[in-house]
């Protein structure tokens, strides 16, 4: 169970020496309790305190790595129930399931490995392939896994079989080197599965029946007792309501109740008969707590939606996306084109740049460094004031590229016009519209007039 800041404080030397980089021992203790710093930073911590704190410092949800090499992915180590409390750290791996007897197995594996889309400048990809044991003996399964591995080299795998011997064969056949996730140990086979996972050093999913969390706790204790450390939980639910209830309870128990047996990431086996039904379950699983989401259909419309959702949810809302502060040319600008200034919050930039472009009047767009804040926010925080505007104008070198000396400032900071005029002698400061949507009208009618 996590210690409170005060409990940790009592274990610290209380010297307020500041060597940890925090102003007081209490400030350091509070950061420790939020797991936002390391105990090692305290130069004079006692051994006794270390032991007590180390125990408390274990993350409530273990970090588990699946795969090896470049495309390996990590899941778990989450610390909050709601993203707005802090952020979500490790996005769930999206894995496509194929049956081991599927004649198109190699072809699907290749498509999964090669799938790639770009969104807001980032490349989004699928994370793995799950090979489900569909009849046949251990050697047949091992061959199918080997074929999948050959068709998609480096792509993390999930081995799905209830037969420990089949898993053992596949892992012994070379798959072990890639650290696939083994799915799954159940009440019936846990001993054999645990032995195989331990022998090959692979993460192991444990699966209960129909959301039986007590059963999951038993299983967890058993396989951990057998020496497997990296676990992934599968509550064995089917359907939206069951998934939501089980996943939420698992996350709460791990974070709020300190349930160590359940302090592992979750795998959602979302595959369904139609891609639409599957998409609904997968969507919920991405939003609510899954570490791995397994789907059956490589349907582009569904996959793109899932990747987009995942990207949105796992972007830290507390770090605004910023544009590089510099002079942007919109259209084929000339010496008489208008000069507009705004801040470097990406949404602000895209709104303004989009409207300027839409206006069809080429323009110089100066983007000031406001630490990624929008115009009014930056103004209120003193990050978009007359001084900053003047500095941006001077540093940009715009003056030598234009024949006029007119600067359009956002209408929301109209009050700054006098001060900017003082900071930029010789410039004429014009007050532009408050909202980007009014820019076309402004540059066409007011600027030209």
């Amino acid at each position: 169970m996590a210690l409170t800041g005060l409990e940790i404080f009592k274990l610290l030397p209380k010297t307020n020496c500041k060597e940890c980089g925090f102003p007081t021992c209490l400030a350091f203790a509070m950061k420790l309790s939020q797991k936002a710093t390391e105990l090692d930073k305290c130069p004079s911590v006692s051994d006794e305190a270390k032991t007590a704190l180390d125990a408390a410092a274990t993350p409530p949800i273990k970090l588990v790595a699946i795969g090896s090499g470049e495309r390996a992915f990590e899941i778990g180590n989450e610390v909050v129930l709601y993203r707005h409390e802090k952020t979500f750290y490790h996005q769930p791996g999206l894995v496509v399931r194929v049956k081991s007897d599927d004649p198109q197995l190699a072809e699907v594996a290749g498509r999964v490995a090669g799938y790639e889309v770009e969104r807001v400048g980032m490349t989004l990809r699928l994370d793995g392939l799950a090979v489900e044991h569909a009849g046949g003996d251990a050697a047949t399964y091992a061959a199918a896994v080997a074929a999948a591995g050959a068709a998609a080299p480096g792509l993390p795998l999930v081995l799905i079989s209830g037969d420990a011997a089949a898993i053992d064969a596949a892992l012994s056949g070379g798959a072990a080197a890639d650290r696939p996730l083994v799915h799954a140990a159940t009440a019936a086979n846990w001993q054999a599965m645990a032995d195989v996972a331990k022998k090959h050093g692979c993460p192991l999913a444990i699966r209960a029946e129909a959301g039986d969390l007590a059963g999951l706790v038993d299983l967890s204790e058993n396989v951990r007792g057998a020496g497997v450390e990296d676990l992934v939980l599968d509550p064995g639910t089917a359907g939206l309501a069951g998934d939501l209830a089980a996943f939420t309870q698992l996350r709460r128990l791990a974070l709020k109740k300190g349930a160590r047996a359940l302090g592992y990431p979750i795998v959602a086996v979302a595959g369904g008969a139609t891609w639409q039904a599957e998409l609904a379950r997968a969507t919920q699983a991405v939003a609510k707590y899954a570490g791995v989401v397994i789907i059956d259909h490589l349907e582009p419309a569904a996959v793109y939606a899932l990747l987009t959702l995942r990207q949105n949810i796992y972007t830290d809302p507390q770090k605004p996306i910023q544009m590089e502060p510099k002079l942007y040319e919109i259209g084929s600008v000339g010496a008489d084109s208008p000069v507009l200034i705004t801040t470097n919050f990406s949404l602000t930039y895209f709104s303004v740049a989009g409207e300027v472009e839409g206006a069809g009047v080429p323009a110089w767009l100066l983007v000031a460094d406001s630490d990624g804040q929008s115009v009014l926010t930056a103004w209120a925080a003193g990050k978009f004031d007359a001084e900053k505007i003047a500095k941006t104008v001077k540093d940009s070198g715009i003056e030598s590229r234009i024949s006029h000396k007119k600067l359009v400032i956002p209408g929301h900071v109209a009050g700054l016009s006098g001060e900017v005029e003082e900071e930029l002698p010789g410039w004429q400061i014009m007050v532009g519209p408050r909202d980007a949507v009014d820019i076309p009208n402004y540059v066409k009618n007011v600027w030209g007039a």
């Binding site: 005060l6 925080a381 016009s417």
Partner: protein, 660 residues
Amino acid sequence: MSDASVTKNRTAMATITFSPSGQTIEVPAGTSLLDAAILCELDVPSPCAGQGRCGRCRVRVTSGEVERRSNAGLATAEILGGWAVACQTYTRGSAEIEVPERRRETVRPQGHALGEPESLPVTCDWRQDPAVRTFELDIEPPSLADNTNDFDRLRRALAQQHGIEEVRAELPMFRRLAKDLRKANWKVSVTLEMHDGVYGAYLPPRLIRIYPGAVSHASMGVAVDLGTTSVVVYLLDFATGRVVDSASAYNKQIACGEDVISRIIYTKRKRGLEHLQNLAVETINDLLAELQQRNRIKLYEIHEVAVAGNTTMTHLLLGLDPQYLRAEPYIPTLSAAPKLVAGELGLHANMLARVHVMPSVGSYVGGDITAGVISSGMFATDKLTLFIDIGTNGEMVLGTKDWLLSCACSAGPAFEGGGAGHGMRASAGAIEDVFIADDTLEPTFRTIDDAAAVGICGSGLIDLLGELFVTGLVDKSGHLDRGAPTDRIRVRDGVPEYVVCWAGEGGAEHDIPLTESDISGLIRAKAAIYAGFEVLCRSVGVDLADVEEILIGGAFGQYINIEKAIRIGLLPDQPVERFKFLGNTSAQGAYAALLCVSIRQDVLDVAAKMTYLELSADNSFMDEYTSALFLPHTDLAKFPSVHQTLAKRGAGPAATPESS
């Protein structure tokens, strides 16, 4: 395009004549009317420091041409009548400007006495270890045979006659020493600062004054509470350790902005910082002059000064650039001020008198709070204590003698009567105490000094809102019940309001209503304060109910009715015995530091030990704030006593809002 795009000829000058004062000033065209008025030292209110937001700096242009960049807050008829917003109106050529007369507010006398030496917070034996002492000396005159220099003669006498082996002095003292000794015929009294504070290495006593003959003059100290709104100066006699008098006035900086943010913005003007520094010193000097006159002392008999103020006020007094306090990551220049003497700051005390400035903890937890923690005694207790100082900023400290955690939440000026349409500071005519009858829904109230009602002060606002809530006239989200059987609820300009005092009632000149928007402002302010309590407790993992003592300091605190403050969810619902009013803790801390040398170390320790929690660093404050945006709170379980009251009165939670 507006006037703003017209390029101005910068070399042109404009002559501005102000009426009714008749002052004339020549300024470059393009100077704002506000700046011109300030140059003439005219009293034009400017709560937002010339940002063009508040619209309070209105003046009337009676002739001449001006350039209006904004007419914020003015009606068309007013603009046609020549009214203009002074900070947004710029001179073009000569013009005549009428400055409306300002209604003067008087300061409420600080009725409470400071603690007497017997009630000082800790074991501080000021008699054993006095800060300032005066000694009589009979110095042997020099001769050809004994050509020891003047200062060494004085030193020798001090050692022989009083056992004080070492003494030092500074240049201004040396410059007068030769004459002073000879004029007094070598029989003098010397005043020494016995301990040079606690800053660094030990330094021997310092000579701060010398006068002829036996010990006959007073030896006084001054404790200053340098508030954003008001400044209080306490005069103490080092002979008895007692406060002999006090005086208070509004901080003269108010003309340059009513809150600290506006003042920080003001310092960005040309010589703005210098101006604010002067105003702070002037405010204190005026009060010193008042005390001097009343108590028949001489200003040079003031031998030591201690000042407690928030971080911004401290920066402004010292002339430090405060603008980094306001911008992320909110960093002050210093915590503890360097060694200073009154002469360096321009304070009208003995120019060699040491000035102690209470150290601050963070940008929004200043020396006033450090002083408060000292005077409240919480730095020496085992009990889990919450200390709060409610003003424009709600500063609070949670802790025991082992740890202290502080934060500041911006409540805005609501509790000082700002923000509300008929809000006012606590001065004569302010409604401060309200009761609303259950049956008739008629209010009875009391005003300060029993004067005719003019407006409602902070404590009156809390009282009134609490009463409106328990009588069911306001629902938990702050909406007035328009269907209630009383004509005091009416709608003006689309906004419902409750008229607490009709024009003519008790001599009031106009109706005094509380509008729904006033109410929502109050709810936001109280939510910010309460959220601060919750976040402080949560961030160290204790429960608000575990707090054993809740100490309320600050000038405003003493007038709060606890029960009613709990009712609206401003204070936590704890047994009344746990609350204690401490009065002006900022000044008390300064007073303790002045009198007790040992306390000066405690003050520094407290400032170093106190952890400052930056509420904007994560979302927990926002969450708590949102939950607290109801009367008394979203979670009624946190306010069991309010729940009971409501149940008894049969109003409240069951009643659903009929208006929205």
